[in-house]
Structures are given as C-alpha cells and as structure tokens.
Subunit: 237 residues, 2 copies
C-alpha cells in the first residue's frame, strides 16, 4: 500500500512513577517536572484524580445518604438509571457514570469531583511547564469512562491544551486517491487510551508521557469545545 | 502515590510500513512477518480493511442503489438513521455506522464487508506467525468506529487472539487500600487506539506493533465473547 505520508516514527508511552500522593493546593506542574524528563513535543497525560485533588475538588460524602445526591447535583441531565448506577450528563457535557465522581483512590468518606474546567486545568499545567520549566509540551487530563454497547472502561480525554483534539482529514485522499470517508479522528482520546496502558488502575501511576506524536497535531483546541457533541447532533441523547 | 505494582516499562507503538496492497487470498501473516521484526510478547494490530481484503470480503456496489441495501443486509438491527448515516448492529454484535462496511481504500464501486468472524481472523494470523515464523505474539484486528456523545472516531478491536480483551481488576485494592470501584478495563480497545496513532488514515499503514504490554494480559479471549455487551445488559439499545 502506498503511504499518503511517509511512515511516522514509533511512539513511546512512558510511565512517570515517583509522583507523591497529591494534596489540595499542590503544584502539579512542579511535581511532574520533578519526576519526568520532558522533551519539547511530548504529550503529558495526567489523570483526573490528581488534577481534582490538586484543585481541591474533594468533598465529604454523608454516609447516611451515600453518593447519589452528589451525583444528581453534579448532573445537568440523567440519561439512565439501573440499580446504583446513574448515567448522566455533566455541566461540561460529558456523558458518564455517576457524573464522573470518583470514589476510588481518595480517602474513605470522600469523593473527587471533576475539575470545574478540565481544559483550563490542562492549560494551567502546560503554561506552568513552559514558563517555569522551559519545555513546550501538550497536556491531556484523562478520565476513565464506560461506553454503551461494549464492555470494559477505557480512558478518554476530559481536557487538553496545546493539541488539536480532533484531527480533520476531510478532503485528504486515501492511498488509492479516493476522498476519505471517515474524516475526523479523536486523537486526544486515542492518546489518553494509550497512556492508560502504562498508568492503569493496577499501577497507581497518575502521569504518563506520550512521545513522538505527529507534530501537525499540535495546536489549539479543547475537549469541551471540540469533542463534546452538542445534544442536537447526537443520535443517542 | 504508592504503586500497587512496580512501574511497568515504557510501551512502544511501532508502525509497520512496506506491506504491499493486499489482495484476496493473500497470505497476511507472511506479509506481516516479511515487513516487521516481531518479538515474543508483541501485540500485532492489523486493520480490518486488509483482513477483509485478504479474506475476499469485497463486494460490488450497484451504483443505481448505492450502499444502503448492503448496510441493511449486513445489519441485524437498525438503531438510528439520519440522512445517509445508518447506525446498526451487525451479526457480530458490533454497533457502528453502516454495519462496518468500508468504502474507503477499496476500488471505486467496491466495498469491504467486515470479516465473518474477526476473532477467528486474528487467531489465524497469530497461529500462522507462531507455527511458520516461530514468534509468539497476540493479534488484534482493529476498526474505526464513531461513538455517541463524543465527536471524532477512534479505533477499537473487532477481533483478538492471545490476549485477554478485558482485564478484570475486581477485588484488587487501589493505592490507598480501598477496593477499586472501576474494575474492567478494555485493554484490547486501548491497544487498538494506541496503534491507530501510527497507522492513521493519513499514513495508510495497515499494521502496527505494540511492544511492552503487561505479560499478565496475555491469555485467551475474544472480542465478540468478552467485549460485545449483550443487549440485555446494555442501557442504550
């Protein structure tokens, strides 16, 4: 098959161990820069959990009532309920279980809410890494979502900075010169999924570096603006 | 944060250029072994398109009627229609656009249907690589699907061999010793997504190697058996 572009280099997905337990007010960019050898052009993927902790999005859960009132408060629309599970839409437009509220890896009796603006969270980390540590990287904030029709969760992006989240190949021709039918690839979610392979629930590593992605993918954009589908163009809401 | 397991090694995602245009009856395992330096423990990701071509799943499209009758024939259930787009369930249980029928990168007037049994397709490639080329790898057949609620397509697995598609972390404790809330990770889809970053629509590369994944993920399983959600446990069908 003739390549439409030259073959890209290999991509490396590098775990960043050694980040201490993150607490409210912690300097996440400083912790990342201290634990990782970053290069210009890297994509730094940070899990929602440590971003929420650093931004003090921890709330107490009343053991009498459980987490359901909190889920309802953090939702703008409930899509489905089954038993303890609520699938809802958050104020960001994310559709996920329990409004993205995280009960694992936080102290008992506490929950971690999603960042208020996860694109801004990514932008802050990116700006701090650039201005204080002199390295020009893109940043993704990732979270673990289920999906309909398929079992198992995967990591997706809930925020990004320095990256075009969806790469539009519309008008590009394929290897046989025909216009491509499928056009918009959510590379931000594919990078988040790749990062999860070395962070994982099992390893407890909150940061990974994805090195070697196509430099053309760097640019401006946000997950809420570019990835969240408007209800009107969504066939399943 | 204390790691529940030691930090894993970095993962490499390596494109495999140099595979010629695949034709019906071609020996895909031989083409892959000829183009790639495979190691035991690699995951070889192969796009559906070349698998469908090698398995002669190409059909002519009648220009008078277009692809819609074909989509309906390949579907067991239509979920949504909007304009030219049909979201349907295939006989495998995949929910995707146009029953997974591929009109790009095939000759004009032709379409590529999904493999009849994409887990078996993966198994055949894996077995051939092991028996004829002496290398013990897992194989994923990947395809590009849209998703509800989020813009942009991503690659997922439609078949696999030698790999546990969903890794069950139920009962494992997190870094703070609490039982993990989110338990089943669809690593097979995360690996397919990672591979797409170097194959991509833009590069026209149909095979990638994902090297360095956790050896505990190797084992038995299939995408249809382990990833496809039964309609009864699905909240969105």
């Amino acid at each position: 098959m003739t390549s439409a572009k030259p073959a890209p280099p290999a991509i490396q997905v590098i775990p960043v161990p050694g980040i201490p337990e993150v607490r409210p007010g912690d300097d996440l960019a400083g912790l990342i820069a201290g634990a990782a050898d970053l290069l210009d052009g890297d994509v730094v993927v940070v899990t929602q959990k440590v971003v929420s902790k650093a931004e003090d999005r921890l709330v107490a859960i009343d053991p009498e009532v459980g987490h359901k009132p909190l889920v309802e408060r953090e939702s703008v629309r409930i899509l489905r309920r089954r038993g303890d599970l609520i699938i809802s839409e958050t104020q960001h437009g994310f559709v996920c279980a329990n409004a993205g509220i995280d009960l694992s890896n936080v102290e008992a009796g506490q929950a971690a809410l999603l960042p208020v603006d996860s694109d801004r969270s990514a932008r802050r980390i990116r700006d701090a890494l650039r201005h204080r540590f002199g390295v020009d990287v893109a940043v993704i904030v990732s979270d673990t979502f289920g999906r309909p029709w398929r079992r198992g969760v995967t990591d997706v992006a809930i925020g990004c900075a320095g990256l075009r989240p969806v790469v539009d190949l519309r008008g590009t021709t394929d290897a046989l010169g025909r216009e491509l039918q499928v056009t918009e690839v959510a590379i931000v979610d594919e990078i988040a999924a790749a990062a999860e392979l070395v962070m994982g629930k099992a390893y407890g590593i909150p940061v990974a570096i994805v090195r070697g992605v196509d430099p053309e993918w760097f640019g401006d954009g946000g997950v809420v603006a570019d990835v969240v589908r408007a209800p009107g163009e969504d066939l399943f809401r």
